[in-house]
Amino acid sequence: MKKNKLYFPVVIMLAFFFSCSKDNTPAPPPVPPKVTTGVFVLNQGSYGANNTMLSYYDFTSATQTTDFFKKANGFGLGDTGSDFIIYGGKMYIVMNVSGYVAVANSITAKFIDTISFKNAGVNRGPENVVAAEGEVFVSSTDGTVAVIDTSSLAITKFIKVGSNPAQMVVAGDNLYVSNTGGFSAVFDSTVSVIPLNSLTESGKITVGMNPGSISTDNTGNIYVACTGNYGATAPSLVKVNINTNQVTKSVDSAFGTIRYYNSVLLTTGGYLGAANVGIFNPDNLVAVRPSFVTDETAIENPYGLDVDPATGDVYVGDAKDYVSSGEVFCFDKTGKKKFSFSVSPGISPIKTVLVQQ
């Protein structure tokens, strides 16, 4: 009789052990630091993990605060943030998989409102955001560009464009939208042109297959990075004269993100290209030098690429392996590293925006 009694206490102990170990309710998030001068970084997170985070890096104290948005508001942004801007005292965070745009105060990140991107309950897939002339534009995978009134925060119009639009740029009097068609068997190859005075697509420019990142020199040209079809159709970089809507230059090169600044075109390689930050001459689309970076700084996987227009400082978000914590590097315009910081536990830093109080 004695021996068999041994077993049951073990079971009870186990139950006790695990009922003890589960009371790990996370501590309430600490109050976020006061924002002065620094950068906000949008960390995309992992798909399905609801871990999009906003980081704040303070220039004075040289410290990074992760999940700034949650600390300011007590809730998380959700899944797969794809872009954000600061415009008119507000920040607009585009949540691609969660299907909404979060609007918050541009300094405190205090939540103001959500703008839903559901069409009869179905996520439109908001992707990219730009602002111009008092309005905010959000492109969505469902083939639309939403026009958001910045005071009422209501969507006043959906502009129909091509299939699965990715990125946008305002150049001249128009909004240009790259149509990837990436969800279909045959990719799209066009850029939609939307005059800002009509807010209706006036036409399409054929560029290269699967156009993605798009940038302008503000002197009558846009540049489009086309990814190709991962097979026979090679990736290309295309230059378009927006006065004639004609492709004036096209080279076979693979880029993820491109940014024009001060007579150079900065690039990341994306998957198909080299894993570095490139610098190109926008006239002939030839590399100025092998790498934008002129010191020993090694970046594993350049992902986000942003330029501070005031100083020419270049911010590169390093996504590493897309599953571990990202890092953000700041370079001066000559390609020398000024500083860098980890966005741990933020994953895949996709966008850096300067904030100044």
Binding site: M1, K3, N4, Y7, F8, V10, V11, L14, A15, F18, S19, S21, K22, N24, Q44, S46, Y47, G48, A49, N50, N51, D67, F75, G76, G78, D79, T80, V97, S98, G99, Y100, T114, K118, V122, N123, G125, T141, D142, S163, N164, F183, S184, A185, V186, T227, Y230, G256, G270, Y271, L272, K320, D321, Y322, V323, S324, S325, S342, S344, P345, I347
Partner: protein
């Protein structure tokens, strides 16, 4: 858990009296004569009685009670369930039903929710090669083997006609009728058949925790309807050889509720499965020393995945995959002299996959497996060594096919008993093996950069342990325990890596994992009095699985996702005359949901506790068993896979009638 109830408790209770005879029957790794605690390699078995207690809705839910096992469960009756053993990953466990492998070359892992536990006789987990011969060579080609046997091939079926029918019903819209018949058509032939249908809504409540946007919600698009059935024949011939034929079919249609996405709760994806196979095994013993086992199988797998909200130009996704396989095996074993036995086996399979996806290469894989096993048994010592040659050739209709792979792998096991009658057994095993990249790894085109240069993923296992097993003449009649420490290594682990952005992936051989662990299993049973019987079992695992892929990464030496340090299970049941009652616990400690071991990625530990009461009511011509069950008694809210909530407290009522 548990939806199915005890089909044929009585039916199988009848077997108990002559279980000695039953157990001599061959199935591969099937009903074993040997106590699993007396094996020279780690083997865990859930017999009929334990399966009835767990009352699992499918074999995955039963396999959760094994040590060293992680069942990746996406929640609910229709949620996908896959098994990872000792952190080797879901694609390194072979699945064997009535002696023949069930494979899926497209995904490399079979969804275990397709296999009902209702008519299963034993469920067994072999940590390395099963230690009996002859076996088909393909069985040696996985790191570990989960095998299950139906009750259709018992020799007791020759003697008596039996039938049973029953129904389970429970929370969240569960209805599950089933029936089985075992018919001896002659002295040497039995025909049996069983069918089961399952309907579940799966609309269980869960809580979304996100600050001011927290809310209670109900799982939607989580319904399933599934039908399965099989027909078996068992023949024995004058020369004592046996022939088994099994025809099995499964058809289901289910919603894929997806992960909980904050601010976006719509999910409309659906999955349809139609699976079929016919298989046959012929076993002949030429004399006491020489046996021949011939196995053949033809199987088809059809999958249809739809997503009407997918934002392509066609207005939604409708992907259809069709896979078929022809398989054959010849295995021979021979005993030479007093101490040695050896076995040779040669298997071939041809697998073809086609899809309605543009530019899909429609691959065909021809696989050859040749194995040689040698066994040595002498008083205190048992040794088993095996070598396996695997040759794999892929062909594609378009695009580049993976290059030919030809590999030799080996396994070795040794057991030592201090004295022949000693309750102790000391054991050690080593096994190295690889898994081939799957068709999805190599040829899936949508949003994946094809990488036909992928290499196989290698795993190496070392295990040392002991068992203690003893019978007593007291209230404790039998007590067994096993303790095994292990070290596993994985190299060239195949990992999907987002490449250009989060939505474009590529497969790479970049992973390296180091796994240390301890498995403890205990089992005991006895009688408190002549009419009160009890049984209990416990399984505990300590594990540490570290990502050692890249020393420069911030996740170097971090725990890989979903490997709790502590996990396990406990079961206890009491039987009094026609009554039985039981209690079970499953638990898991904290673990990380992502590769980075940051507190924000830490998932809390959980435990699930279930209880049941069952009673048999005898009538004149048949017997009725009524069973009531409460699962997750404390209504614990937990996820096995992050943002795939598991059901809270649920109830189930089961009624079975069967022949006396």
């Amino acid at each position: 858990m548990g939806i199915f109830t005890m089909p044929g408790t009585v039916l199988f209770a009848q077997y108990k009296s002559d279980s000695g005879r039953v157990l001599q029957k061959v199935t591969v790794t099937g009903e074993r004569k040997q106590n699993p605690f007396a094996a020279i390699v780690p083997v865990q078995v859930l017999n009929r009685e334990a399966l009835l207690q767990i009352n699992a809705e499918n074999i995955a839910d039963a396999a959760r009670y094994f040590s060293g096992v992680l069942i990746k469960d996406y929640g609910g009756v229709g949620g996908l369930k896959t098994i990872s053993v000792r952190s080797l990953g879901g694609l390194n466990t072979g699945l064997v039903y009535d002696g023949i492998t069930i494979a899926d070359a497209q995904t490399g892992q079979v969804d275990l929710s397709k296999f009902s536990a209702t008519f299963v006789q034993t469920l067994e987990l072999d940590q390395t090669n099963p230690q009996q011969i002859p076996l088909p060579a393909r069985i040696y080609s996985s790191a570990s083997i989960l095998s299950f046997t139906s009750n259709s091939f018992n020799t007791t079926n020759f003697t008596q006609k039996k039938w049973l029918a029953g129904m389970n019903t429970g929370s969240f819209g569960l209805w599950q009728p089933y029936a089985g018949l075992y018919l001896p058509v002659s002295k040497n032939m039995v025909v049996s058949a069983n069918v089961q249908a399952t309907w579940a809504k799966g609309d269980y409540p869960y809580q979304i925790e996100n600050g001011m946007f927290s809310q209670k919600a109900y799982r939607s698009n989580s319904d399933i309807q599934a039908f399965q059935g099989e027909v078996n024949t068992l023949n024995r011939f004058a020369d004592s050889s046996t022939l088994q034929i099994k025809v099995w079919g499964y058809s289901s249609e289910r919603g894929l509720p997806g992960s909980i996405i904050f601010f976006n709760d719509i999910s409309v994806q659906r999955l349809q499965d139609k699976n079929f196979f016919i298989q046959s095994r012929y076993l002949k013993k030429f004399n006491t020393n020489t046996s021949l086992l011939v196995s053949v199988k033809y199987s088809t797998l059809y999958t249809k995945y739809t997503d009407p909200n997918f934002l392509n130009n066609a207005g939604g996704l409708d992907d259809r995959y069709s896979q078929n396989e022809i398989y054959g095996s010849i295995a021979l074993s021979h005993r030479m002299g007093k101490y040695f036995s050896f076995s040779l086996a040669s298997d071939i399979a041809s697998t073809h996959l086609s899809a309605n996806i543009k530019a899909f290469p429609n691959p065909t894989r021809t696989s050859l497996w040749n194995s040689f096993v040698i066994e040595f048994t002498k008083s205190h010592w048992q040794l088993n060594a095996s070598i396996l040659n695997t040759d794999i050739n892929d062909k594609t209709e378009t695009g580049t096919a993976a290059a030919n792979k030809n590999k030799f792998t080996a396994a070795f096991a040794i057991g030592y008993k201090p004295k022949p009658e000693s309750p102790f057994l000391f054991r050690f095993f080593y096994k190295d093996i690889f898994r081939m990249p799957t068709f999805n790894d190599l040829y899936y085109t949508y949003n994946v950069n094809i990488n036909p240069k992928l290499l196989p993923e290698y795993s190496t296992q070392y295990d040392a342990g002991f068992t203690y097993s003893k019978n007593f003449k007291s209230a404790l009649s039998q007590f067994s325990i096993s303790v095994d420490g292990y070290y596993n290594g994985i190299k060239d682990k195949i990992i999907a890596v987002p490449s250009q952005n989060l939505f474009i992936w590529t497969m790479k051989n970049i992973g390296k994992v180091q796994i240390n662990g301890i498995d403890i299993n205990g089992q005991a049973n006895g009688k408190f009095s002549p009419v009160v019987r009890w049984s209990a079992r416990i399984a505990y695992t300590w594990q540490q699985a570290l990502d050692v892929s890249d020393p420069s990464s911030t996740i170097y030496k971090n725990e890989i996702p979903y490997t709790p340090s502590h996990s396990g299970s406990a079961l206890a049941a009491v039987y009094y005359k026609t009554w039985s009652a039981g209690y079970s616990i499953l638990f898991s400690g904290e673990r990380y949901a992502l590769g980075e071991n940051d507190p924000t990625n830490l998932l809390p530990g959980w435990d699930e506790q279930d209880a049941f009461v069952s009673c048999q009511l005898p009538f004149k011509y048949f017997q009725t068993i009524i069973r009531g069950e409460v699962d997750n008694i404390f209504n614990q809210q937990y996820d096995v896979v992050h943002y795939y909530p598991m059901p809270g407290r649920s109830y189930k009522l089961s009624i079975t009638i069967n022949s006396l």
